[in-house]
């Protein structure tokens, strides 16, 4: 037998070839026309036994400086929140881990019920009526929202607040040409978005997407932004952080049509950017325009409750070129991690989580001897102005074992001296003290 995970013995193989009525494996590949057959051996690195594999991967992993090696205050969309141990214990169960999309509901009640519970949690958090089973991430769900808005309004302009995560804006712009959409961005004033500017831009727009909290960590006047969008007949779409929703108002409560965002901060490890889950929730009006899987409740032959994938006439395998999306594979397992974490936190834990993050951010603001970039209410991130280029500050602080945060100059002009510091509940006041001391030293 060869390397890898194969199960056939020589004898099996011979018996099977005989049953098929061919004499060799090559015979099976006769249907591949000779000119397009690959004759050689693949030029790939040699096979590794499992222990060698682990050692090699450990060596690769050791070349990365992860949160835990370095005292890190990086955030800017992905956060080092604590993922409770039960998440992995549950997600690693083979019945969840190794199942496909629940096409056959009687085989898959576990996953289906879990997704139904996830949809419920997302609706509760966002104040929406319907959630899909997950989108790819918090970036692509923005494109999904645009697609919904286009078809719901018949309009082709999308308005994005510039305070929205820059990568979210990039993804929307990548998708826009194919969707036949034009994208307009609205700048910020002193770190937040002006509702009047939004009102102006929203004229004739399909949707306005704005963040809460925003990319600078500031709290937007989200109700005003939503109202401005809706007054212009555009859909109001809030891009929100789940960890804030024990403290900040649910988008549904201030009139949003959709709420979207990145789920990573609840239940997923950072993992260099993925896989995570994006959530997409909407008012009932849009249920038949939603992309991706949706689980619905039904009954079985005995009248007992059960769950199935539903509203499939939206989807590609039925509607094909008229589908609401091409999505099949989504991020179920990651969303399940979100559900488990939300259940573990409960409403009280979620609120406390937000309070602890906010309190640390407040402490950082007070303790760090640098001016804040924006004097605004904040949630868990604070932007500071540095007396030297932020990149240099990061480099020098890292040499002292502290990563102070994200350089906003990577995305925003005129912000080369701004550093965005993220505070999760895993950081302590002593950690903030250390950050403050290091920043003081490297900024001197």
């Amino acid at each position: 037998m060869t390397a890898g995970y194969l199960s056939l013995t020589e004898q099996d193989r011979d018996e099977m070839l005989a049953a098929i009525g061919v004499s060799s494996i090559d015979d099976l590949f006769e249907q591949v026309p000779e000119p397009v057959r690959f004759a050689g051996e693949l030029n790939v690195p040699p096979a590794l036994s499992e222990s060698e594999l682990v050692r090699y991967f450990e060596e690769l992993a050791a070349k990365n400086v992860h949160t835990g090696v370095e005292l890190s205050f990086l955030g800017a969309g992905i956060y080092d929140h604590y993922v409770p141990a039960i998440v992995d214990a549950i997600l690693q169960r083979g019945e969840f881990l190794t199942a496909y999309t629940p096409y056959q509901p009687e085989m898959s009640q576990g996953v289906l019920q879990a997704i139904f519970e996830y949809q419920t949690a997302i609706c509760e958090l966002t104040g929406m009526d319907v959630s899909n089973a997950s989108g790819y991430d918090g970036f692509t769900v923005a494109a999904d929202a645009c697609f919904i808005a286009k078809h719901a309004t018949g309009r082709t302009k999308i308005v994005l607040a510039e305070t929205l995560n820059p990568q979210v804006r990039e993804v929307v712009k990548t998708y826009a040409p194919g969707f036949g959409l034009e994208v307009v961005e609205v700048g910020h004033i002193d770190g937040v978005t002006d509702p009047e500017r939004i009102a102006a831009a929203a004229e004739g727009a399909a949707a306005v997407i704005f963040p809460q909290p925003n990319f600078f960590g500031c709290l937007e006047d989200a109700p005003a932004l939503a109202a401005a969008a809706r007054e212009a007949g555009a859909l109001a779409v809030a891009h929100v952080d789940l960890t804030s929703l024990g403290i900040l108002e649910a988008p549904g409560a201030y009139g949003c049509d959709m709420a979207i965002g990145e789920g990573q901060s609840v239940g997923n490890s950072q993992s260099y950017g993925g896989p995570h889950y994006g959530f997409l929730a909407a008012r009932t009006d849009f249920i038949r325009r939603m992309p991706g899987r949706i689980v619905g409740q039904t009954t079985d032959l005995d009248g007992d409750r059960g769950f199935v994938l539903t509203l499939q006439t939206r989807e590609q395998h039925i509607r094909r070129e008229k589908a609401t999306s091409n999505m099949t594979t989504n991020q179920t397992l990651l969303a399940l991690g979100g559900l488990v974490t939300l259940a573990w936190l409960g409403p009280q834990g979620l609120r406390e989580l937000g309070e602890t993050c906010m309190s640390l951010a407040g402490y950082a603001k007070e303790r760090i001897a640098l001016p804040v970039a924006f004097e605004q209410p904040f949630f868990k991130e604070v932007a500071f102005r540095t007396p030297r280029p932020a990149r240099d500050v990061v480099r020098d602080a890292r040499a002292m074992g502290v990563h102070p945060g994200y350089c906003l100059g990577r995305d925003y002009e005129g912000m080369d001296d701004v550093i965005l510091v993220a505070l999760t509940e895993k950081r302590t006041p002593a950690d903030v003290d250390r950050l403050a001391d290091v920043l003081e030293e490297v900024c001197a």
Binding site: Y5, P45, E117, F179, Q212, R305, T310, L334, P429
Partner: protein, 485 residues
């Protein structure tokens, strides 16, 4: 089983969050939460039980045989989980400076090299989140390429096979293209005459799965490629069926210009009940400038994420892709090394063995050797006994087997699409053969048994029509509904 919300009780809790005793800043009143979300309130004990009990109501590859056609449900090695959870990978922040992420970048670089070798195409982006997004990315690359050549407006049509997976036409629309369909011959190849009639200067490209969704290798693939290339159009390879040909045939050698891979199929990323996946895309050299941003580049011995890519279509998702998926798939590849071809050879052998043993009991859609999967039809059983593909699927459950894909591809009536994968031992195949023969007998002798199936699952057959008619897509707090088992 009760919903987790139905087990909830006010004031109960599991997790505790650090409280450092610092003052909590005020939230402006207009922005503050007015009523708390009704999240579950349980102690950890009961959360663990809830999900353990849910898991017991779910079937995975670890539970048994899962021959779900087109989904390549192979064994998911646990060592891949182990390495993906190494802190250096799992806790690496995506905004970490390149200098602090050299191991991750090296891994991605090495993974790209193997993917390129497997496809026979030199340039790879790892960014797409799944096959479908790979498709869309590929079509966007096509558009960018034609725009760059000044043919962007002229070329507005993509051709797909009538056997195509639903994602192909859906992607075509999302990419802003028109769709044209081409017929399949009785042997399961693309109809070359139909194709010649449809390919012209308005054609941007072809999207094709090869082996196709009926599990057959297109014998005319070289001619197909010529037809498109002669018209200046491109060929896109839907890699969902790549598991059939690794090390035996390469899409690039067949003439494809753009290829996506489904890491969650061919390269064993566990599908997790719906996802995550990974849908890297490989292209020929002159298409490289159009690939998404950022790209991993190597300079001397160091790696870097290149963001300055002026011709790129831009970013299709966050960061550099689903990195955790890369770790698992790369580990899978490294467990095989150059023996990767044995993976595909065995997948094809297993499928042909099943086909050979079942073709006397079920109608076969195409009477040829198959590749890694094949399609049976229950048309005859339906006519004779009123037994549909759905009934057979449900009855398989009673025998502890996950049903195959049914009613796809659409060109085969009452289709049962069976893909055993390479990791199954002969004993499992033999047991499946025996069960399928039994069910064929039962269809004749006791059709009601099949109509009422499944009989042994936690729920009986579910009413999907009702679910769609009056959708209940979230828990209605307070209103109790009858619960199953």
């Amino acid at each position: 089983m009760e919903l987790i919300y139905e087990k909830s009780q006010a004031g109960r809790r599991a997790g505790r969050v650090p409280n450092y005793g610092l003052p909590v800043p005020d939230v402006p009143e207009a922005l503050a939460r007015t009523s708390p979300p009704r999240l579950p309130e349980l102690a950890e004990n009961e959360i663990m039980r809830h999900f353990t009990n849910l898991a017991d109501r779910n079937f995975g590859i670890d539970t048994g045989f899962y021959p779900l056609g087109s989904c390549t449900m192979k064994y998911n090695p646990r060592v891949n989980e182990r390495v993906s959870k190494l802190p250096g990978f799992a806790h690496l922040h995506p905004h970490q400076e390149d200098e602090g992420a050299q191991g991750a970048l090296e891994l991605m670089w090495e993974l790209q090299a193997i993917l390129a070798e497997v496809a026979g195409l030199p340039s790879v982006t790892l960014q797409p989140a799944a096959g479908s997004q790979g498709e869309l990315t590929g079509l966007m690359v096509m558009r960018a390429y034609f725009n760059d050549r000044g043919e962007g407006d002229q070329r507005d049509t993509i051709i797909t096979a009538d056997t195509a997976h639903g994602t192909n036409p859906a992607s075509v629309t999302m990419a802003g293209y028109k769709l044209e369909k081409v017929a399949t011959t009785e042997r399961g190849n693309l109809d070359l005459d139909d194709l010649r009639a449809k390919v012209n200067e308005r054609t941007a490209g072809l999207m094709l799965t090869n082996p196709s969704t009926v599990g057959l290798f297109d014998e005319g693939i070289a001619e197909v490629a010529d037809i498109f290339h002669e018209q200046g159009a491109l060929l896109y390879y839907d890699g969902a069926n790549l598991n059939a040909i690794v090390g035996r045939s390469r899409p690039g050698d067949m003439g494809f210009d753009i290829v996506h891979y489904n890491l969650h199929k061919t390269f064993s990323q566990p599908h997790g009940g719906g996802g995550p996946g990974g849908g890297p895309v490989a292209v020929r050299a002159d298409l490289e400038p159009f690939l998404p941003s950022p790209q991993v580049v190597k300079e001397g011995d160091t790696f870097r994420l290149e963001r300055d890519r002026p011709k790129s279509i831009g970013r299709v998702r966050g960061f550099a892709g689903p990195f955790g998926v890369f770790v698992r798939s790369y580990a899978y590849m490294r467990a095989y090394g150059p023996d990767l071809q044995a993976m595909s050879e065995t997948a094809v052998l297993n499928a042909n063995y099943l086909l050979a043993e079942l073709k006397d009991d079920y109608e076969v859609a195409y009477d040829r050797l198959c590749m890694h999967e094949f399609v049976l039809s229950a048309r005859a059983l339906k006519k004779e006994y009123g037994i549909t593909a759905l009934d057979i699927a449900k009855r398989l459950m009673d025998y502890g087997v996950h049903p195959p894909t049914i009613y796809f591809p659409l060109v085969v009536p009452e289709a049962l699409m069976i893909e055993p994968t390479e990791t199954e031992p002969k004993e499992r195949l033999d047991a499946f053969i025996a069960v399928m023969k039994t069910i064929a007998r039962e269809a004749a002798e006791n059709p009601e048994l099949l109509k009422g199936a499944p009989h042994t699952r936690p729920v009986r057959r579910l009413d999907e029509v009702k679910a769609a008619k009056e959708p209940i897509v979230r828990h209605a707090f307070g209103e109790r509904v009858p619960t199953g088992a």
